[in-house]
């Protein structure tokens, strides 16, 4: 175990990057899946679309998912990179000052 400050710091940084990236990926898959499910339910529950074809349904869902990709909510997933740094900052402040 190193007392070398740069090594220990970089090891933590690397660990954080790996963890945050995995979480970012998983959360993106999860929220996209939730969005897709909601779109499917929206289409299936609408009586006006009763006779529409499967292709129309597919197009509606794909358009909704594409819209979600550029939404503010989706950008909030980036917070998994920000929040740990904030928490570490707060802990450093409270422990040392």
């Amino acid at each position: 175990m190193g007392g070398d400050p740069m090594m220990a710091f970089f090891r933590l940084g690397l660990l954080y990057l790996v963890f945050a990236t995995v979480m970012y990926f998983l959360l993106t898959v999860y929220f996209r899946s939730l969005r897709r499910e909601a779109l499917e339910k929206e289409w299936d529950g609408d009586p006006a679309r009763e006779g529409a074809s499967a292709a129309e349904r597919e197009a509606f869902i794909e358009a909704g998912v594409a819209e979600w990709k550029h939404s503010f909510r989706r950008r909030l997933i980036w917070l998994v990179y920000v929040i740990p740094v904030l928490i570490i900052g707060v802990v450093i402040y409270y422990v040392n000052w």
Binding site: M1, G2, A8, L27, I92, V95
Partner: protein, 221 residues
């Protein structure tokens, strides 16, 4: 036989739960009110107990096998002794990010008192004291308090544990969503194909598939 497996399952589960509780009991911060009798620095040669010691101070040579550790000797309100080590955790485990051990030592030295005129001090620490393995809890901060009966509501621990539970809950939700949307439809598709194959094969093949059917899981509701 099944009975022994059930017992074994419970033994393993209890051991896992116990390990988890011990882990958090070691790592989470706790507060003691004590009277500081002395502060000192001693050379320590870490051996089998090195897991329970922090690393060398940031910026110092970590390749040395021996180093000096700061200690805070105290007496508890019940008269029993408690000795704390005072080490930086730095960027390493556990994540206290403590860099000010020398300042903590200065504060602790300033708060020394005698049995006749006790000054009570609250020490925030993590870790355990164990005489057999020569391990000490690590003092994170010291603070003068009114008397020996002062207690602190464990806000920090509640926040940390709820945060971890929230992460666990989130992971479980993610798994449930993945199972519902990806795994189950795949299994259903495979089942449907197997059923279609069974329908097309009659006679001897049909009997085999009927026998296989008795092994298949009951349909989900």
């Amino acid at each position: 036989m099944a009975r022994y497996f059930r017992i074994l399952k419970w033994v393993i589960l209890s051991l896992m739960a116990l390990t988890l509780v011990a882990f958090f009991h070691y790592v989470l911060p706790q507060h003691d009110v004590v009277r500081i009798t002395d502060t000192s620095t001693q050379r320590i040669d870490m051996g089998e107990n090195s897991l329970f010691w922090a690393a060398a101070d940031l910026g110092t040579d970590a390749t040395q096998t021996t180093r000096d550790v700061k200690f805070i000797a105290t007496i508890q309100p019940n008269g029993k002794p408690m000795v704390y080590r005072n080490e930086d955790t730095g960027w390493i485990w556990p994540p206290y990010f403590k860099f000010d051990s020398y300042n903590v030592q200065a504060e602790a030295s300033d708060l020394k008192s005698t049995a006749e005129a006790p000054k009570w001090v609250m020490i925030t620490h993590y870790g355990w004291r164990n005489e057999w393995f020569t391990i000490f809890p690590n003092a994170v901060s010291v603070k003068a308090v009114e008397g020996p009966d002062v207690t602190v509501f464990p806000w920090v621990n509640i926040v940390i544990l709820s945060g971890l539970l929230a992460i666990l809950f989130m992971l479980w939700r993610m798994w449930a969503q993945f199972k519902e949307r990806t795994i189950d439809p795949t299994i259903d598709a495979v089942d449907a194909r197997a059923d279609a194959m069974a329908d097309s094969a009659r006679g001897f093949g049909g009997r085999i598939s009927a026998w296989l059917g008795t092994w298949r899981a009951k349909p989900r509701k």
